[in-house]
Structures are given as C-alpha cells and as structure tokens.
C-alpha cells in the first residue's frame, strides 16, 4: 500500500542538486501558475514547462506516468461527461449523443492543468529524500508543530499500516467477510479502528519518552545545512519569471 515517492532521490541531475528551499518555492510558484490557467491556448505551454522539468530532473518516464495514472483515473471519472453536457455549441452529433465544443475545451483545459500540476509536485518531492523536503519546509518558516507532525506521521505511517493489516488479517481468519454495513460489520470495524487508535496512542507515549530521553525540547531544533549558490538562485529567478509570464499571459 505504501509508495516510495523519493525512490529516485539519488539520481544526479540539476533538479536533484537544486537547493531544496529554492526548488520548493520555484516549483510551488510554477504549479500555482499552471493551476490558474483558464485559456486553452496556454495548455501546451504549461505542459511544455512540466515536460522540460521532467527531462531536466532525469526522472524515468515510466515512474512519472505510473504516478499520474491513479489520480488521472479519478479525475477522468469526475469530468468525462463534460463534453456531453456542457455548452450550447454542438461540435459533433453521434446519433442521440451530442459532443459540445465548450465541454470538450473545458475537459482539455482541466486535463492539461492537472497533468502539469501533478507532474511539478512529483518533481518537487521525488528529487530529494522526504525528510530533506520537510527540513526545507521548516527552513521556509512552516510552523514547527506542522513540520514535527509531518516528520513523525511520515515516519510511522508504514508501521501503523502494518498494524492495521495484521488486525484485518486476524479478523478475516475469524471469518469476518462483510457483505453489508450491518451491526456485526460496524462493531468489528469500530473495534478495529478503536484498537488502532489505542495502539497508536501507546506507541506515541513510548516515542515521546524516547524523544525526551534524547533531549528533545531542551534546545531549538538543529539548523539546516542548506546553502543556496548563484546557480540555485538563478534557477529560482527563471522559474519565478516563467510563473509570472504564465499569469501575465493568462490575464492578458
């Protein structure tokens, strides 16, 4: 169930070597600029930005496509009917079904924005280990409560998933095979959920004690060791210029 997004963080490329703070700000600005595009003529431009960054990051195309497939399927279900219901201008008549121009353009626009934004987010977090990205978010002044929670949640997600898998396997071995949400199903699912929360709470107590023993809270969290050089800043300037250009073209 777990997917290692940062599996390719070791591959050396200019994007991998980019200062993580500069990278997150740049790709975040570009993703937002792509998300607000409403002119279908700008879709090729946003896709070109995403594709060129994929090439620059040297992430395998198969990895990028595999990461796009699942959210793409959800998006497809949500907007597939648009060309059939949206808009007055008929583009094509197929028997009783009409294909509308406005709906088709809207579908093209949504699919383009989606592909560009998801690809940029993927490049941002696939090109560094997750804890480096979270440290960079902390260096960008994200509140400490959030970054601490991000680190701990990410660290324990897999173990808690294994806990739940074990409990579900045990339930199945005791002939739990739900067919409808009846009293027994709800009681078993409720007990599973409650047990998982109690186990997680007990684990958190142990983790907190271990953190205190290691001196957590006695001094401010260690400073990061990121250093932004000229190339990092130039990359960020280029990305921010591209984002500003997209927004200007959109407004124009």
């Amino acid at each position: 169930m777990m997917h290692a997004i940062d599996h390719h963080h070791g591959a050396g490329s200019p994007v991998h070597r980019w200062d993580p703070r500069c990278k997150l700000v740049s790709l975040g600005a570009l993703a937002l600029a792509c998300a607000v595009v409403t002119d279908p003529f700008l879709v090729p431009a946003v896709l070109a930005v995403a594709a060129s960054l994929v090439l620059l990051s040297r992430l395998p195309a198969g990895f990028v496509l595999a990461r796009l497939r699942r959210p793409g399927a959800i998006l497809f279900c949500l907007v597939v009917a648009l060309p059939l219901v949206s808009g007055p201008t008929v583009l094509l008549e197929l028997g009783p079904v009409s294909l509308y121009r406005e709906g088709t353009l809207e579908l093209f626009l949504i699919a383009g924005r989606f592909t560009a934004v998801v690809t940029l987010a993927l490049i941002a977090f696939a090109t560094a280990p997750m804890h480096t990205s979270i440290t960079a978010l902390r260096a960008l002044r994200l509140p400490q409560v959030l970054t601490d929670m991000l680190l701990l949640t990410h660290r324990y997600l897999q173990e808690i998933d294994q806990d739940l898998s074990r409990m579900r396997r045990s339930a199945r071995l005791r002939a739990f095979a739900p067919r409808r949400p009846d009293r027994r199903t709800l009681a078993t699912v409720g007990a599973l959920g409650g047990s998982l929360l109690v186990r997680s709470h007990d684990r958190s107590t142990r983790v907190h004690r271990a953190m205190l023993l290691r001196g957590h809270g006695n001094r401010p969290p260690g400073r990061h060791t990121f250093r932004a050089g000229t190339a990092d800043l130039a990359g960020t300037a280029a990305a921010l210029t591209a984002a500003a250009a997209l927004i200007t073209l959109e407004a124009w």
Binding site: R113, L157, I160
Partner: protein, 228 residues
C-alpha cells in the same frame, strides 16, 4: 473525498488557502496556549497516521463499497489538533499516494477540517448539555454518531457545492441548486454509516481508554480501576 488538482478555478483555490491558513493559525494559537504543547505532538502525529490508514478500509454498501472519511471522528478525538492533522494527512496523501493535490490542499483541508471542528464542538456540547444526565454510553454513543454524521454530511455539502458551481456546465442556478441538494441527500446514508462507525469507535474508547475522549462525561471503567 478529495478534489483533484486542475479542476477548481483560481478564486476557489486562493479562498481555500485563506480559510485553511486562518483555521490553522487559530488552531495553532490554541495548541500553543496549552501547557507543554510539544508533548501532544507525538500523539497527534500517530493519530494522523492511524486516520490516514483507516480511510483505506472499504465498507460494503450494496451495490458498491465506500471508504470511510472519519473527519468527524478525527475532530472528536483530536480537538484543536484536528486541523493541523488534516493538513498533514492530506499533504502526505497528495505527495505519497496522489490522492487530492497540492494546489487544492487548502480547499480540501477546509472541506474536511471545518466539519471536523464542528464535530468536536458537537461532541463536547452533547456530552455536557442535557445528555450529560443520561447514561455515559448513551450520551457518548449519540454524541459520537452526531459528530460523525455531521462531519461527513457537512464535508459532502461543501464538496458538491464547490464542484457543481466551479465546473462550468452551463446549467442554470435552479438546476445547480437541485443537483447539489440531490447529491447531498444521496450522501445522507453514508453519513449514517460514518456516524455509526464513529459511535462504535468512541464507545470502544469509552470502555477501553476513556482518557482519549474529550468532554466531562468520563466514568471510571474496569480497565482504569485495574490500573489504579
């Protein structure tokens, strides 16, 4: 129940981030005002991870199956930590699994988080109000049901209002309103399932570890008496 990237217009994305930033700022203020807030972070993080994996459970609701959202339950057990927990959970779901997205993180967090805080308030109110005089199992079960039900139905209301009004379908206002109402009503049975699961989980916690529940209607259980 995540809106993917690319669907919503700029105004809604910015509005979502504005609501999420305000709710987060207020939640963090309340968290930092408490005594030793850092001691609560491991618990809130483990619960966040637990909620992320619990939403992968599918319940059969013929003819299909639904996965749990549990934002009401999350609000009930985490209180002011619910909003940061939802932001962290949605961020990791978007980055690790491709559910939702980062430009829609603000909208999705507001859609799940505001109902979660509502569920927390409802749960506390029910247990402290007129229900406080009835048996703790009845008041807690009912409060849990209402919290889970309200959490899901409110989130579904926000979701469909955003989707129907944001995606340009060239429908008139009356049709849009009817579509939103219809979709929300269709989610009421799911709200009942979500409320029932929330009630069962809070009753389990009341029996096994009542200290994990907020509110005044705490009773000493066999487990607590044994622990002294």
């Amino acid at each position: 129940m995540h809106i993917p990237d690319g669907v919503l217009p700029a105004g809604v994305l910015v509005g979502g981030y504005a609501v999420t930033a305000s709710a987060l700022w207020y939640s963090l203020r309340r968290i930092n005002a408490a005594e030793d807030p850092a001691s609560q972070i491991p618990k809130a993080s483990m619960f966040t991870a637990a909620f992320v994996v619990l939403t992968w459970i599918h319940l059969p609701v013929p003819p299909t199956s639904v996965h749990l959202i549990l934002n009401g339950l999350l609000g009930v057990v985490l209180g002011w930590f619910a909003f940061p927990a939802i932001v962290v959970g949605l961020f990791l779901q978007a980055v690790l699994f491709g559910h939702g997205g980062l430009t829609v993180l603000g909208v999705n967090a507001a859609m799940m988080g505001v109902p979660a805080l509502l569920a927390h308030g409802l749960f506390r109110l029910c247990r402290a109000g007129p229900l406080a005089r009835v048996r703790p199992t009845v008041s807690t079960g009912l409060a849990g049901f209402l919290g889970g039900f309200a959490g899901l139905v409110a989130a579904a209301g926000i979701l469909f209002a955003l989707l129907v009004t944001s995606i340009p379908t060239h429908l008139d206002t009356a049709v849009e309103r009817a579509a939103i109402t219809g979709l929300v009503i269709a989610h009421v049975p799911l709200g009942v399932v979500e409320g029932a699961v929330t009630a069962v989980v809070v009753l389990f916690l009341l029996r096994v570890r009542p200290a994990l529940l907020p509110g005044p209607a705490r009773t000493q259980t066999q487990g607590e008496r044994d622990h002294g």
